[in-house]
Symmetry: C2
Subunit: 396 residues, 2 copies
């Protein structure tokens, strides 16, 4: 690997990513979208300045570990317990409806298939990509509307968190299925084994770290031990339990989320993430997408994918919302609040690419879904809330 090439590529990636991230923000779009577009621009699709190589892939891998670790750290376990049942029902329905709809969509385009065939797993994988709501975008929108702590807001937030966990479980199960020698009982056993091991290890590490945390708050050692734990658990999860490495990082984050210094760890991870690892991760997605390979079938598929992706969440979550007692506009607020997709959809897609379950062409569809959902959600939610305010106003 050429040392100078590393310096050159990183320098280009960092500056172009930041420029497009800021431009995206100016246009009220998520910064992530800007970084992906930066990757498309400097990658094989347009300019061809930077080629994805082993080093960039390695940095991107650390980037996604940091992101998932951070998502775990931000989990509020207390809040999760409180909204409990309602959120769980909405999350489950919001995972399985898009999973089934996505699978059917793929089969409509590329023919129906059954379990042992490659095509069947590709179809399931397309459904899996649709399962995860983006917590960060949902939170941001609800915060901006000042609706984050009312019943609908809390439920949506909890459901989005539970949705992440279920989505990752589904991902793990789907990836394990690919190898036909794997029995479903083995997968469940291994997944269960990992969570039991993580739970026991988690309690021990949490106790140990709590002592250090109280004795030396806000010292470098806390985030460093956290980072080593995230990397180590990612490794152990995939190597010894056959679970996706990002699951390990996410669980490491949840373990540390109750520490007094969890926000401190998260801030330090954030600095590491936004400087090098995060931009490289999102740009590398653009680098791996070659828009020149786009044909009309993929374009048509992408448009249908976006429509199915948005509607399946609204239907899945809305219906579950109705069953759990929400009425009128609240049903739509929950559905629309859950329809945003973000990093996790990309992470899942990249995982599928690595495992050879989907083609890199489908990144286009995923990117389109993220862009459309990130732009539509704030607009529709705002409309749903301001109508509500008006009607309350006229009632009052």
């Amino acid at each position: 690997m050429d040392k100078l090439l590393i310096l050159r590529n990183l320098s280009i990636i960092i500056i172009v990513a930041k420029f497009f991230a800021l431009s995206a923000r100016k246009l009220k779009a998520p910064q992530v979208v800007g970084e992906i577009i930066a990757g498309l621009l400097i990658g094989p699709s347009v300019l061809g300045w930077v080629k994805a190589d082993n080093f960039i892939s390695g940095i991107a891998e650390i980037g996604v570990i940091l992101l998932m670790f951070s998502a775990g750290l931000e989990t509020n376990i207390q809040q999760l317990k409180k909204t409990g049942l309602k959120a769980t029902v909405i999350a489950c329905s919001g995972v399985f409806v898009p999973l089934i709809f996505g699978t059917i969509l793929y089969m409509c385009f590329y023919g129906f298939s059954t379990p042992p065939s490659e095509e069947f797993f590709s179809a399931i994988f397309i459904g899996t990509i649709l399962t995860a709501t983006s917590v960060s975008i949902t939170v941001q929108v609800l915060k901006e509307l000042g609706k984050i702590s009312d019943e609908v807001g809390t439920t949506v937030l909890s459901a989005a968190i539970i949705d992440d966990v279920i989505g990752i479980l589904v991902l793990t199960v789907v990836i394990s299925f690919k190898d036909p020698s794997n029995k479903i009982s083995d997968v469940i056993l291994r997944t269960g084994g990992f969570f039991v091991a993580a739970f026991v290890l988690g309690i021990i590490i949490y106790k140990l770290l709590s002592v250090i945390d109280r004795k030396y708050p806000h010292t470098q050692r806390i985030p460093i031990i956290g980072l080593a734990l995230a990397l180590g658990m990612s490794y152990v999860a995939e190597k010894y339990f056959g679970i996706a490495d990002i699951t390990g990082a996410y669980v490491a984050g949840i373990i540390l989320s109750s520490l007094d210094d969890s926000a401190y760890i998260d801030r330090k991870m954030d600095v590491n993430s936004y400087m090098i690892f995060g931009p490289v991760f999102f740009v590398s997605i653009g680098l791996q997408t070659d828009l020149k390979t786009l044909d009309t079938t993929i374009l048509l598929f992408s448009i249908c994918f976006v429509i199915v992706g948005l509607l399946s969440k609204i239907i899945g979550c809305g219906a579950a919302g109705f069953i759990t007692g929400f009425r009128d506009r609240d049903i739509f607020r929950i559905g629309v609040g859950m329809m945003t997709r973000g990093e996790v959809a990309l992470i899942v897609s990249k995982k599928g690419l690595e495992e050879g379950m989907i083609d890199s062409r489908y990144f286009t569809a995923v990117i389109l879904l993220i862009v459309v959902s990130s732009i539509l959600t704030p607009i529709i939610l705002k409309a749903l809330y301001s109508e509500g305010k008006n009607s309350i106003g006229s009632e009052g």
Copy 2:
């Protein structure tokens, strides 16, 4: 490159490095020493847990770029101008005396040689390793003694900074010499060309960044642009001017050192550095050192190298101090203050290894010099100052 191996190695490096860094600090030794020992322990010398690979080398390279960028950012140009002449004379003498002594030492051990031979360049390179005083260790010691802003303190600090610049110039010239087709005039022309280009570019970038800095202080974009500049200038320096990449990073730091937000940039670089890149850099030095290859000749050489390294700085800087008007204990304070070696000596050694100018066995000598000088300097300086205080006390 195996993705899982990356996660495993990084996790081990980060946790073991931190543990040894903290242990070193408990023993009043610099943390850097602990990280190098961590590398020796997990590398081929002892446990063999981690092998240096391409990915680790790449991360280490970014680590050294970040370190040199940070050293550049901490440069106080005003202070540099004030102490001017005295510091320059001390710095020059403090570079050339160790350079000559080191070269002679190598020749005493391995035979005298003349310019076109490989051995001659190895000898010169051993001298070059001895040239650079470690700014960070010197500053830390003077701060602890509360003597950083008196005449001796300011002079030592300025001399240490100028010493770095001259040391890097010497390094560049020595590396360029190895290729016999290189004429010395070309080297000077290229080096001059780089500094002129950097100066012009520097003014432009500085003006542009000042505007952004004032308009959006403390925003992510400032350190990100800085980082991209450091990486980009490292690339351009080595690729187009044949100058060591670390020189580019250092100059990028100096360019930004007068920005209002330079301390803010430095803090963000620091978080990036201490989490992953810094530890990997120092640990990788330990990983590349195989103590099993130690024979008695190298051990004897190492001991002589340490003695020559310490004495040549005391003689070189002390004599220049006497010439520029310092008297009595101040002469020794300057000499001892300048004798600490640190990161830069390691960086130079690593450079020499990459260029095939020295053998990795000499790392042992360099590590020994850093450990001994880092422990002796604070002890001797403290003694030199407390004696002074006592005699003032008895006078007063």
